[in-house]
Symmetry: D4
């Protein structure tokens, strides 16, 4: 009576269910994980709080927990990769948790991924030095906080579509990610679409869908 799991999602959408853990009680997660384990449904648990990890790992034998990305994947082993390459870019070192959430999501949904870090626009030679791998991608995720300028710059250099993830990295007039969000929505280069602030999961999911028809 507290959860109506979307067991039908795999059939309807081709990609498995995910559970957003942050606002749930440990008791509710216990029940949800148990029900999914019983049905053997491949599932991602995102934004896992520290006090929730134990119950997930216990209910779901073989699950894998990534503390940087705050992600529990079950089963822990991702499927054999299919489709095109997903490249994930973190503008700064501090954007890595969001980038990692995106990369792991895409990987567990069946794509091969590559990650590039700390190549923000303050030193352009850094991103220009990675054009080769960027041009191999079928879909690119770019996570950036503060000015959020990198996704537009990347989109202007490649053929692949760019999923931009604003992060809450920054302070003051970054307003918790509002500044990079607006920058990305106004990117001068076409080929940029935006997901919610810090939503690495959503970016990785979208990139996985783009990089291979499901």
């Amino acid at each position: 009576d507290y959860a109506t799991l979307d067991h039908d999602r795999l059939a309807r959408r081709g990609l498995a269910e995910a559970v957003l853990c942050d606002g749930k009680t440990v008791e509710h997660l216990h029940g949800i994980a148990g029900e999914l384990a019983a049905r053997e449904s491949r599932t991602l648990f995102t934004r896992v709080r520290e006090d929730q990890v134990a119950v997930l790992l216990e209910q779901l034998p073989g699950a894998a927990y990534d503390p940087v990305a705050r992600l529990v994947a079950w089963p822990g082993e991702p499927p054999e990769p299919t489709g095109g390459l997903v490249v994930v870019v973190a503008a700064g070192t501090s954007d890595l948790p969001v980038a990692r959430e995106a990369a792991l999501t895409a990987r567990h949904l069946g794509r091969e991924t590559r990650t590039i870090a700390d190549v923000g626009v303050a030193g352009l030679h850094r991103i220009l030095g990675r054009l080769e791998v960027l041009r191999e991608a079928r879909a690119i995720v770019v996570a950036a906080g503060m000015d959020g300028a990198l996704p537009g710059v990347v989109a202007g250099l490649v053929t692949a579509p760019v999923i931009a993830v604003p992060t809450s990295v920054g302070y003051g007039a970054a307003f918790g990610g509002l500044a990079p969000l607006l920058t990305m929505l106004n990117a001068c280069a076409p080929g940029v679409a935006v997901v919610n602030i810090d939503n690495g999961y959503g970016a990785g999911h979208m990139a996985a869908q783009i990089a291979a028809p499901v």
Copy 2:
């Protein structure tokens, strides 16, 4: 000295240049169109003001003007379609100009397109009655104003990625498209990424990139 056209874009990005006309003087557009005509570069002119149409059509023989989408395409004839299908959905009749800009953009960038109109969530049977065509799409664009709820509902029903375009349709607390923009960024269903308010061009471009590798 007033424009540095990106003639290299087709080579670099695989898709042609576009010119955002709204803020430009007629004199500047005259020069820009002339230069593009001389180079025979396939180009879209977006957000064309009424006073700018004549100079574009005159400088670019064979161009096509769509007054609803406020778009001039040159050449007027789109290329032979390749890649997957792009389905464009307008939540309400008033969202049609934005939807049309998206559809024409995707069409002129080389995709086949289908458009569905006035199937907002106030009467769910309308969108549920179109599942067949939605499920044929390799990429879906959904334009919606006011509550902006439709893209999330569509994403929950299909396998294709959804590009959501908030529109400025509505009044009061729609705040010029801010309300549907936030709704779309917070869509509960994964597989939704968002472009700027009223940016049919950006949505169509992104959908074209998704529906066929370039």
Copy 3:
């Protein structure tokens, strides 16, 4: 000298007083509860902080405390139900505390209630599978965070008026409940009216008034 209780409210409005506890000192609550106990006035205490529970239960023998809804009801036993049915819907599991505050409020104000959980628009079949109970309602409360799309979808399916409660569930561009608040104010389906973010009390009160003339 710190409180002027509205003892006249039952006479004037037909429904009892409520005390918003969050910002009050334990000392003030001690006095307020004592005064109400002396007058034997049926009262709800909302948004009760953990450090306030003891003094309330001590001053008001027979009171009932619900930790999920953060509500103390006195007397603990609700009145015999009259009027129509109030159905309370929680879009996600995380919206349950707000939904429960609404349901308990309506129940203690004299209505019969039913609660449905985790039926958000990402998997439409879930809400479509509950149409029967929704159509029995004289008033419906829908609590939803993130995209806040569910109230408009529900309103489009039923004859009863819908009271929408945005919740602060979500992150990033949910902006603490602002996103679902705006969505609900812009609901495309008529028959939706909105209360404050996380205001389960207000929603339950309104639903109780609608479901039976007082």
Copy 4:
């Protein structure tokens, strides 16, 4: 191909379709009105622009146009009233267009209505002098701009639920209706729910649903 009318709404919801005219072309309205006339569906046309009036009146013989409320009702004659009384209150003279839209909507959906004007809180004796009629209501609509204080004051005096409509009346920090919207959402008296800024239609619809089960 530009409109998918919700002919099923009367069956599903018990109340007829409405058409929001503001963002539609005259050509589209011509077609929509024609289709509705052919089906003899009772319909309200709201936020009608002046250039749209003629085509509506021509396509819908017997329709009634109210220029203050910007409403076309078809048929022009409202149904015989059923259910309880709807009282509509305008805080100031300038709020009358929104109040009138609410009153006409409720009337055409089948309720009896009464309207009270210019009884804002700057002179409390004005609203206190109307308690008798307010206490006859089964549902009350209060339209107010600027400080938006009146709905909370009214709710504190009566048993009926109050639908509050913020209006864009005011200037400066009224921010186009944002100020009264926030006031109403934070009303200290329970029994207030809020619709969109200037949304007289939504308020009247909700009041009609409350004042009689449909």
Copy 5:
């Protein structure tokens, strides 16, 4: 080198210096209090953090600390009252800390004060029952959170000017005091001017200036 005290203020403005303590280190406050003690300047210390109280009381013998108002006054004894009466009104019990800061400030600046609590607009009879004392005032301070409606209602009933203080009491769309701030700026009754959210000090200062020429 960290503070340039405004010792000239009493001469220039007729009212003594005040020190906003919140953002200062204990070391800095130690120095500031010492310097003021040496000069025997009457001073108010506002928004005092708990860890700052000891150093103030130690440096300023005879100072008085009020933990509710978070105020240290030195000397602790206020001057003999002169000028007209200042009435301070708290809309709810939770607004008392701000109201008390206002009352103590006015008192220490030399005015007689009276305080009324919990007379918000949800039960109008409460404020209407205090008209007598309100009409004795030469200046009125009204502190209110949530809907912030009380100052406008009071102003409509009296001849004295009203200083409105929005408080951060409330939740959700109260947005930390933004909602009552906007309400007060848009008060329909003239005779209301507004100070910063939770700024009891500023309100009391202004009221003291109004109630007696300095």
Copy 6:
């Protein structure tokens, strides 16, 4: 039925009624002015639109119209001044319409007034050169747009309370008066209270109340 004039205001508040004309129809103003003329009530008509002037002057013989302040006063002759001096300061030349509305309001409510213009903080010697007249005031109104810094500077120099009026003068990040509004609410010098953006009427009314007990 469209207006409930507050004829009691003079008795209750000591100052006459005012009518905010902007949002009213010419027909309604005709009726309102007629009713006031019949009762011989001293009244101010504020924010008068150009198309409303004629009907006011016709209905109210002897009324005076000031096109800069957009004010009609009736009777046109202000009363003999009583109480203290009101000084009105305009930070820039462009703030003069608002300053004039304040000065005329205070004058028609019975105070003597003096106006100083274009003495903003960019050239401090200008305001420092007017200290003499500022120090004669019992109440000061300061109207300023853009940075809104002048009221705080003035308050720091005088004993009289300052009513600050933010104006919509400026562009870009002035956001229609929001920037000076926030500046004024955060004024470092106590003795500043704020009215709505461009609300010269409210500022003048408040100053008149301060400068003489009513």
Copy 7:
């Protein structure tokens, strides 16, 4: 009595007075220009409305009017250049009016200037092709709308300080220049400081001060 010109500014600040014309009446400008002409003070008139041009040119013989920058300079001939070079960059063709206002301001305050246009980040080779001239600058002004990414990119490539001017070019979530304003404030590369939206005058003034000590 409507203007207090800052004739002392040249002495105090080393740079001449400027008059912001937008909000002033033609009559006031007539007087101001006359007074300045009489004193032979070098002055810039910014944001000149079309109806103001004639009176300025008539009162100030030899003045120069630039319709793109909306600037009148008097005398029309700029002084002999001194100090370092100011380079002004316009991200897009539509940013040219703001860039031109900056360039003319710096030129009339005594600096040599160079302007580069349409070198936004969507095609990086464009700005990278201008490094030579950028590296000659002692101060750089960059005007950009939409994503506002260019100033940070430029700052990362040069030694000169960058003054960033957000422009109101763009639509939707550009929010009238708010988006590029936030981007620029959050620029990842240090060496960027920001002026008001569309404030070419302020940017040019600042650049002139930087490029030569005054």
Copy 8:
């Protein structure tokens, strides 16, 4: 793979790299500091968290840590000063941490600096008493919270350009620094440019660039 340090920055920009520490893990900082130590690159570490200090001081022998400014400089000894003087002004005592970050940054980038504290506009004589040192500066940094009025006042008195830093000092409608940010962007005096809220580093960097060509 978590950091791509900009070792080229000194060559390209003439000023050394800086590392923003706040969002980085201690592990990442360990690696970054080690790499920089190995290359002997002069570096500033800004916004250092307390748990990060030890690893920095250990990896970078001879580094200096300033706990007020939260800055680690390596090497700890700043270079011999060159170029003009940088004067740093703190409006209040609470703005000192930001002012100190600016002063230390400019000093470590090679400029001589002077700091003035607590000279806000509430007591103008304080800043007017420091004109001599202000007029010696080649660049001025002004840090201010709350009303943010001081930078504009300073700019109006001197010839040097002013870099304004809004601080998050204040409460309520200061909105975390938004209020002073807007004030500074709207400064009436030209010669003011603004950096991010609390960004002392950026202000000091910009001032260092202005005060000496690099």
